[in-house]
Structures are given as C-alpha cells and as structure tokens.
C-alpha cells in the first residue's frame, strides 16, 4: 500500500499533465498490475468531469457590471510604464528627472521663497543628493545605484559636467496632459531640451494648457499655446522658451 500511496500522487500529477517521462513510464507499468490504482484513477477522472459539469454559467450582466464599477474607479497608477522600458532607458529617464530636480533645486534653494516651495513640495535637499563620478561615465554603463540607507542614498552616478550629452542618448517617454486631465502618451520628448529659443516674455498667468510629465510622474514642462507659437517652461531651470507651434508638435512626435 505504501507503494500505492506513491502512485496515487503520480496519478494526481498525471491528470495535470505534469509528469516527467520517467514517472509516466513507472505509472503506466504500475497501473497494469494494480487494480486499486486503476480504480482510483478512474474515479478521479469521473470526479474531474463532474466538477466541470457542475460549474454554473456566469451571470449575463457580469461584464457590464464589472465595467460600470471600473468606470467609476480611480484611474490606475502608472508605475509599470517605466518598468516596461529597458533598464538603461529607465536609468537615463530617472537621471534626466534628477538633473531637472537638481537644477531646479540649485536655482530655487538660493532664495528663501524657493526653499519654502521645495519644502511644500515635500522634497528635502538630502533626497536630491547626487554623487558625481570623477570622470565622464559612459552613458551605456550607467546604472542607478542600489539604495544604501534611508538618508544617504547616492541615487545616481553620472557625469555632472555633461548631463545633456548623456540624456540625448535615450528616448524620454512622456505623458501629455491637457487642461481637462486627459492624457496622451509620446515615445520621446527629449527633443524639447534643445527646441525653440529662450524668451524673456513673462510667464503666462493662466493655467498651462498642457503639462508634460515623464512616465514616473515627474513634471517636466508646462506648455501654453499662444497664437502660432508654444511657450514652454522647463521645470528644471524655470526658463521660458518659445517655439513655432508646428515644429513644437512635430518634435513631440506621434501621440497616442
């Protein structure tokens, strides 16, 4: 009977098609000589069939009800989008966000107003600490450093002297969000770094017509449409730039 106990498990596994070849051979040899195990296998097959038979059909309005609930639910968080990109692109996108943050912090923290703004945004200077590599690190070799400790984490190692060069190397997936909150995604917004001309026009007082975020949710640009041009303000240096509308939208590429 000890023997049969062993084979009972093989019978169960065989129903699931998960036997190895060796096990399969052993089982079929055993079944030929064992009445008990043949009957057991037979019973299990019958039960499995009856089980499937017993399943009730789902209610007709199931899809409808689920979708009605889904439409009322908050939109999914977008965390996974960035995970879907290759590690190197992730590193570069994260780095780009960090460079912006660092630049933004550098200019803003000089004034007390900026400091209070950054405090209000929940960003402490510590979280922006960057460890600069002694020499130019090749972009391809850059990896985000592992978190070391809560208050001393070198988030990224890069060549602080030439961040733009490194950023040019990777696409920057983004989300373009209009004033109504509806979103469209684009594959690469990195062209905006070098698009258009800086302008000393005042920053429009009205709410931006669009904002552009990276896929991790960091705010990159605010955009205002003005006649034939687009004013866009980089969140990093706060400078306002102006570009001709056509070339601006062309630079953003296809949106979906």
């Amino acid at each position: 009977m000890d023997d049969c106990r062993f084979f009972e498990e093989l019978i169960s596994t065989s129903l699931d098609g998960e036997l190895t070849e060796t096990e399969e051979r052993a089982l079929s040899a055993h079944l030929q000589s064992c009445e008990h195990c043949r009957a057991y296998r037979h019973a299990l097959l019958a039960i499995t069939e009856a089980e499937r038979d017993a399943l009730p059909p789902p209610p007709r309005d199931l899809t409808e009800n689920i979708m009605a609930a889904v439409r009322k639910a908050p939109a999914p968080r977008k965390k996974a989008l960035i995970l879907a990109f290759p590690r190197r692109a992730q590193a570069l996108a994260a780095m780009a966000a960090l460079v912006i943050l660092a630049g933004w912090a550098g200019t803003r923290l000089l004034s007390p107003k900026g400091a209070s703004e950054s405090a209000a945004a929940g960003i402490s200077p510590q979280t922006m600490r960057i460890a600069a590599a002694p020499a130019a690190a090749p972009a391809a070799g850059m990896e985000p450093a592992e978190e070391e400790s809560a208050d001393n984490r070198p988030m990224m190692v890069f060549d602080a002297a030439a961040p733009e060069a490194a950023m040019d190397a990777a696409p920057l997936p983004f989300l373009l969000i209009d004033a109504d909150g509806s979103e469209r995604a684009g594959a690469d917004g990195s062209a905006l770094w070098s698009l258009g001309e800086p302008t000393d026009a005042p920053v429009p007082e009205r709410k931006p017509d669009y904002i552009l975020r990276d896929t991790a949710g960091a705010l990159l640009w605010q955009l205002w449409e003005e006649g034939d041009s687009v004013l866009f303000r980089e969140n990093g240096d706060g400078l306002l730039r102006r570009a001709e509308a056509g070339s601006f939208w062309e630079a953003l590429g296809e949106l979906s």
């Binding site: 019958a46 017993a54 789902p58 689920i66 979708m67 889904v70 639910a73 939109a75």
Partner: protein, 203 residues
C-alpha cells in the same frame, strides 16, 4: 489573446482608455467567476468577488509587470478576495455540506430530444450535485488549489508562485485534495463513479 495583445491592451488602459479594459474582462471573466464560485459556494457572492477582483486589477494595473500571464495575476486577486470574503463570513474551515439544495438548479434536466438517455442524465445531475457538495466540504486550502488547477488551468509553476508554495507542496496538496474529494464522495454514496469510461474517455 496573446501575451503581446494582452500587454498592448494594458498599455492602452494605462494611457487612459478605460473601455479597453473590457477586452480583459470578457477574456477572463468566466474562469474568474468559476474560481470564485468554487471558493464561495454561491453565485451572488461569486459575482461580487469577481467584480472586486477586476476592480483591484484595474486600479493596480500599473503594478502588473507582465512577468506572468494577466489571467494568473487576476486569479490570484480573485483568490485573495474570496479568502477575505470567507474570513469575513467566518467559515474559512468548512462550508456546510448542503448548499443551495433548495435551488435545485443542477437537478433540472435539460430538454434534450437527442443526446444521452434520461437515466444517464439523471445520474450525471446527481453526480454534479454530489461533487458540488463534496467540493464545498473540502478544507479551503484544498478547494483553492484544485480550483486554480482545474478551473484556472494554472501550471504547477504558476500555482507555486500564486500561493507561494514549493512545487513539491503543490503536487502533494493537489493529491491530498483529490484524495479527500474522492473519500467524501465514496462516503456520501451519491456519486456513481461510473466515470467517463462509459463515454469512451478512458485511456
């Protein structure tokens, strides 16, 4: 739906196309519902649980990384929702043997002018009812693993990941579940166990 199609739909949903989610619902709802029904033992609770699980899947779709099939991820959510529901009802260990006897739904004979003879239909209906009762009487961990395997169609690897078990435990627990089910049915005496051989399915 292929894995690529699935990921494309998910990407659309994440970009704000909520209605695209319906494709994932229609593709997976039947099995999800059967899983829930098996766990909870009644249709209204099963429908609620499936709705909850899909809602959870939707709101946390950003966490789905595509390491497994969407269905596997969903079944895990269904399973968790069901376990929560059972805990709430404090009937985690055993369910009553007699469930929905009053409804008698599965006793209804289909109106068939062709097909198997009435005697066989009656037997099959009785078997279904007996299996249903025995399933409900199984310990929850047995019911859970049998459902993931037989309704969800999950592989041992997938079950191991979903329930955080060793492969060996998956194998032995499935065996234990089936053996128990078999014992319950033999004891009840309501199961014909004539089996599929009649229909020539015996290999």
């Amino acid at each position: 739906m292929t894995k690529e199609e699935e990921m494309a739909v998910i990407a659309r949903v994440l970009r704000g196309d909520t209605d695209a989610f319906a494709a994932l619902v229609t593709e997976n709802q039947q099995r999800a519902y059967h899983l829930a029904w098996r766990m909870l033992g009644n249709e209204a609770d099963a429908a609620d649980a499936v709705q909850d699980a899909f809602l959870k899947a939707y709101t946390s779709l950003g966490d789905f990384r595509g390491d497994s099939r969407f269905s596997v991820w969903l079944y895990r959510l269904v399973n968790n929702v069901c376990i929560d529901a059972l805990r709430r009802k404090k009937r985690w260990e055993t369910l009553p043997l007699e469930q929905e006897d009053e409804e008698g739904e599965s006793w209804e004979l289909p109106l068939a002018d062709t097909g198997p003879d009435p005697q066989e239909l009656l037997e099959r209906a009785a078997d279904r009812e007996a299996v249903r009762a025995a399933m409900a009487a199984l310990p929850a961990d047995c019911r859970e693993i049998l459902s993931l395997r037989e309704i969800g169609g999950l592989s041992y690897d997938e079950i191991a990941a979903a329930l955080r078990l060793e492969q060996g435990t998956v194998k032995s627990r499935l065996n234990r579940a089936r053996k128990k089910l078999c014992q319950l049915l033999t004891k009840s005496g309501n199961f014909s166990a004539s089996g599929p051989s009649k229909k020539g399915k015996e290999v």
